[in-house]
Amino acid sequence: MTEEIIIAGFGGQGVLSMGKILAYSGIMQDQEVSWFPSYGPEMRGGTANVTVILSDERISSPVLNEYDTAIILNQQSLDKFESKIKAGGTLLFDPNGIIKPPTRTDIKVYKIAATQIAAEQGKPRIFNMIVLGAFLQVKPIVKLENVQRGLEKSLPERHHKTIPENMEALDLGKDNVIAVN
């Protein structure tokens, strides 16, 4: 199994950390992983993206031009990456702020209103975990217990108290993801 994923949105949405949690989860189930962030101007405001690869085999290129899955969190990223999803691949997006929805019919399209749900819960910080939960409902490439173990490994001890909240956010994502086509 090899899953090649691009996660893209605004800086500050937790794009890079979502990718990191996914990568750690992959390590917890003995997979090869790579996590390559956009760096530079993106860190200083604007769009951010990260390429995450999970594989049972040695990973060749950490940089890709087409993806099995795109997780898209703003319009600019949708414009940039919709065409780069492999035929038969998966697109998951948050409809918040999307004025030109995806048009491709040869991929599976899902949406998760994570911005809205996080706001309703009064917990904007769990936004990215809601999105991750939605992704894992659509493509269960890592087990939830491995996400939990990944969080334990990647978060400093003082933040371990937030793990239950993060795990609940994954469930919110799982329960609210909607197939669009």
Binding site: K20, A23, Y24, I27, E32, V33, S34, W35, F36, P37, Y39, G40, I59, S60, S61, P62, V63, L64, N65, E66, S154
Partner: protein
Amino acid sequence: MGDLRLMKGNEVIAEAAIRCGCDGYFGYPITPQSEIMETLMARRPWEETGMVVLQAESEGASINMIYGGASSGKKVMTSSSSPGISLMSEGLSYLAGAELPCLIVNVQRGGPGLGTIQPSQSDYFQATKGGGHGDFQLIVLAPASVQEMNDFVDLGFELAFKYRNPAMILADGVIGQTMEKVELSDYKPRWTEQQIEEMHGSWAANGKKANRNQHIVTSLELVSERQEKFNQKLQAKYRKMEEEEVRYEMIQCDDAEYVIVAFGLSARISQKSVDILREKGIKVGLLRPITLFPFPTKIISELANRGVKGFLSVEMNAGQMVQDVRLAVNGKTKVEYFGRMGGMITNPGEVADVVESKLIGK
């Protein structure tokens, strides 16, 4: 077995330095390698192993602190990115001229000038053809993974001390910023003063002993006859490196009719291009130079003699290593170049297309 972690290439350089018994790091921040010093500062190795970590006032100061540390037989290193390495080039020449072992890490970004902060391999010439004035060579290692960022710190020091010559790790912004699984090396203690005396006591300025004259570390020699002798000694050293230290990786080259030559990130990308082309039934292999100096000339020449129909040098620059590939192939067959510049990164599909269009001529 070492420690298994998920880390950035830059962070791993720092961790590997501490674990290999490095005595001192002197540097100045620059994107995309600032995590090296950040990680060192956060790890506070001076409390653990006694390693010194110092932010110098400039790149020029850093490289001259390396000169001082190395003169006393200590394991010292610095790191920077392309424009910063240019600022160090005077120091590199002096280090080579004084035959001082040390490790320099260049996490390349696009140039010339301040250029871009995005990844590049455009310092190949600078790294492999000296990188300063005078006839000298650096030992140049090109990591293609986060694991190799770990492994080459220790290897770089080993080679530097074996040959009393500066060694460089020539990485790029992607290898520095990417996180991968890495098995960290076990801790090695720093050398004691006594060990330094035993191993490097013939040249190091580690305190004059009663039974010998003082050691003078210098690159100055005003008598031309002696300077030429010294030049010949350096050249003999470089020839020995070419005989004994060439390292490379070959992937699917056994039956290959076409060979991609690429180092660092370009090699990782090209490896996927090989898979794409093999699926189409095209017999392509990848030769990845691990040492850029000494360059794997012999094996490339052998592949050309064996009947490889064409070579493609893939680089993130305007075509630099391709010159060394051409010298190795020596006109026996076609050698083409493909690359992107300015911080743009090529991709596996693009490289595969170029193999078909430029080498095979479809």
